[in-house]
C-alpha cells in the first residue's frame, strides 16, 4: 500500500494524478476463511482490522450485501462522545473516543476527527439532576466532562436562546473532547487497512443462510455460493434479527427507522455539537456549512430506510425554539437508516447459542462513536473468547436481569 502524505499529493499533482492506486481490492471470494465478518459497516470493518492488528488473524473476509459503509455508518450524524452513566458503557465508549484521537495517523487515512466539544443541554430540572449525576460518574470513570451553567452554554454557543418558554436552558453536560468525524472516511480507512493486511472485502454479496453442523457453524450461504468458516461475526445493525433467524436464535431487538437531515450550507455559526435530549433533537455544523440535524427514532418496526415525516417536523419544531435562527433555513436533504434497538438500549457484543457464531449489534441510534472501541473488544472476544471491554454486554444479561440501562441516563442516544 502506498502511503498518503503531503509528498504523495505533490508527486501526483506533478503527473496529473495518474498514480493513485485503488484504496482496497475487490477479490473473488475464497472457498473458506479463518473468520468471516458479515456486514462492512464501521463495526464489522473495525472488527476485521483489530483481528489482524491485535491478533494476527488476517485470513478474514468481510461480506457486504451492498457497498461498504452504505448502512448506518454512512447515514449517521457522526456525533462522538463518551459521557455515559454506567461504567461498562463509559469504558467501551471512552476506549473508542480515545482511539478516534489517533485514528487518522493509525490508518494513514484522514477521518477528519474534530474534537470540537459536545454539549448535552439540561432543559428540565430532572435533566439538571441527571446530568450532574453523570458528571460525577464520569469523574469516577476518568472521563473528562463537566456540568456547566447556562451562561457558559451561551458563551460556547452564541446562537442559542436560553429562555425559551417551553424548554429553557438550565445548564449542560460538556465534554470538550467529544466531537465529530467523517463517517465514510472511517469505513474507507478501515477497509483500506484491512485490504492491505490481505483481507478480502467482498461487496455486493448477500449472506442468505448460516450453515451449521452439530450446533456449530461451518460457513455461510451467499448470493455467490457457499463460503466456509468456523468463526462467524454477525455485524449487520438493523438486519441483526434477519441474520439471527438464519442462524436459528432470537434477539431482544427491534428494527426501526431513524432519520436525519441537513440544511442548506451557511456561514460558520456553531463550532460544537449541541444535543437537546428532552426534545429529541441534536445539531452540529458540517465543514460544508450545512446544519446537521437528527431527531428521535420512529416507533414501529421498519426495514425501508425511510422514516415518517412528522418525526422530522417534531424535531425541527422543538429545535427552532432553542435556535430561533434556523427557522429560516431550507432543508437540503433528509434520509433514514434502520437502527437495531435492544430492550435496555445498550449494545450486544456476545457469543451466541450457535458455537462459533458471535454477534455485535444493538448499537441502535448511537454506535458511530463506538466503532473503534467496539471493533477492539469484539475482535478480542472472537479471537480469545473473552474481552473485558465486552464482558458486560453479553446476551445473557437479559435472562439474568443485569441491564446496562442507558436509556434512562441519556433519554435518547446518538
Amino acid at each position: 500500500m502506498r502511503r498518503y502524505s503531503a509528498f504523495a499529493i505533490a508527486r501526483e499533482a506533478a503527473r496529473y494524478h495518474q498514480g493513485w492506486e485503488r484504496a482496497w481490492a475487490s477479490p473473488e471470494p475464497k472457498k473458506s476463511y479463518d473468520a468471516i465478518i458479515v456486514g462492512a459497516g464501521g463495526h464489522g470493518l473495525a472488527t476485521a482490522f483489530y483481528l489482524g492488528k491485535n491478533f494476527g488473524i488476517t485470513n478474514v473476509a468481510v461480506i457486504e450485501k451492498g457497498w461498504l459503509g452504505g448502512g448506518n455508518t454512512g447515514r449517521n450524524t457522526t456525533i462522538i462522545r463518551s459521557n455515559y452513566l454506567q461504567d461498562a458503557s463509559a469504558a467501551i465508549y471512552e476506549k473508542a473516543r480515545g482511539l478516534y484521537e489517533t485514528m487518522s495517523q493509525d490508518l494513514n487515512y484522514n477521518v477528519m476527527f474534530s474534537p470540537r466539544g459536545v454539549i448535552m443541554l439540561a432543559q428540565t430540572h430532572h435533566e439538571v439532576r441527571g446530568y450532574q449525576r453523570t458528571a460525577h460518574a464520569n469523574a469516577l470513570q476518568g472521563v473528562k466532562t463537566e456540568f456547566i451553567s447556562p451562561q457558559r452554554v451561551k458563551e460556547i454557543v452564541p446562537i442559542i436562546n436560553l429562555d425559551g418558554p417551553r424548554y429553557p436552558v438550565l445548564g449542560g453536560l460538556w465534554q470538550a473532547r467529544g466531537g465529530t468525524a467523517r463517517h465514510d472516511a472511517v469505513a474507507w480507512g478501515y477497509a483500506r487497512a484491512c485490504s492491505d493486511m490481505g483481507m478480502d472485502i467482498i461487496q455486493k454479496t448477500e449472506v442468505t443462510g448460516v450453515r451449521k453442523e452439530n450446533g456449530a457453524v461451518v460457513g455461510v450461504e451467499t448470493s455467490r455460493g457457499f463460503i466456509g468458516t468456523k468463526k462467524l461475526g454477525i455485524v449487520v445493525a438493523g438486519h441483526s434479527g434477519v441474520l439471527a433467524d438464519m442462524a436459528g436464535f432470537r434477539l431482544p431487538i427491534e428494527s426501526v427507522a431513524l432519520q436525519a437531515l441537513v440544511s442548506e450550507p451557511i456561514k460558520p455559526c456553531m463550532d460544537c455539537v449541541v444535543m437537546a435530549n428532552t426534545v429529541h433533537g441534536y445539531m452540529s455544523q458540517s465543514d460544508k456549512g450545512e446544519m446537521v440535524i437528527g431527531g428521535g427514532a420512529d416507533g414501529y418496526n421498519n426495514y425501508t430506510q425511510r422514516g415518517s415525516f412528522h418525526h422530522i417536523e417534531e424535531t425541527v419544531r422543538a429545535l427552532v425554539e432553542t435556535f430561533p435562527m434556523i427557522s429560516r433555513l431550507k432543508q437540503l436533504r433528509q434520509w433514514g437508516g434502520i437502527v437495531d434497538m435492544t430492550g435496555d438500549r445498550s449494545p450486544i457484543l456476545s457469543k451466541t447459542p450457535v458455537e462459533g457464531v458471535f454477534i455485535n449489534c444493538g448499537w441502535g441510534t448511537g454506535g458511530f462513536k463506538a466503532i473503534p472501541g467496539s471493533g477492539w473488544g469484539f475482535a478480542e472476544l472472537m479471537a480469545r473468547g473473552y474481552s473485558p471491554l465486552t464482558a458486560e454486554f453479553g446476551l445473557n444479561r437479559f435472562k439474568e436481569g443485569r441491564f446496562i440501562d442507558e436509556s434512562v441516563a441519556a433519554g435518547v442516544a446518538h
Partner: protein, 107 residues
C-alpha cells in the same frame, strides 16, 4: 405516512393519531414460568423483515387498542383487526396470503 383503519371506530387514522404498541400475540409468562420463557416474553422479538403483527392504539381518537398485519419491508398494510383475539383470524391470514402466496405463519 402510515394510515391504518381503526377497527373499533372505523376511522382511517394517520399515524400521528396512533400510538404503536409493539409485537402482537405475545404469549404472556409470569411467576412460576421458566427463566427462558420469561426472558422470551419480556425481550425476544420476531422483528421480521416482511409480514408482521402489531399492537396499535387509536390514542388521539377513540382510545381503543387494535391489531394490524403489516409488511415491514414495504410498509404495506394487509388488515387491521380486533385486539380481543389470541391469534390472527382467518380473514387476516387470507388477506396476507392474497398478496404473499409464499408466506406462512411462524410457529
Amino acid at each position: 405516512m402510515l394510515i391504518l383503519e381503526c377497527p373499533c371506530c372505523g376511522v382511517m387514522a394517520d399515524e400521528t393519531e396512533l400510538a404503536p404498541g409493539g409485537e402482537a400475540h405475545l404469549k404472556r409468562y409470569g411467576p412460576g414460568s421458566s427463566d427462558e420463557d420469561f426472558e422470551g416474553y419480556l425481550f425476544h422479538r420476531v422483528n421480521p423483515k416482511g409480514v408482521h403483527f402489531e399492537r396499535w392504539r387509536h390514542a388521539n381518537g377513540c382510545g381503543k387498542w387494535f391489531l394490524a398485519a403489516r409488511c415491514t419491508n414495504t410498509l404495506e398494510v394487509f388488515a387491521t383487526y380486533s385486539a380481543q383475539t389470541p391469534e390472527p383470524p382467518q380473514h387476516v391470514i387470507d388477506a396476507i396470503r392474497a398478496k404473499r402466496p409464499d408466506w406462512s405463519i411462524e410457529a
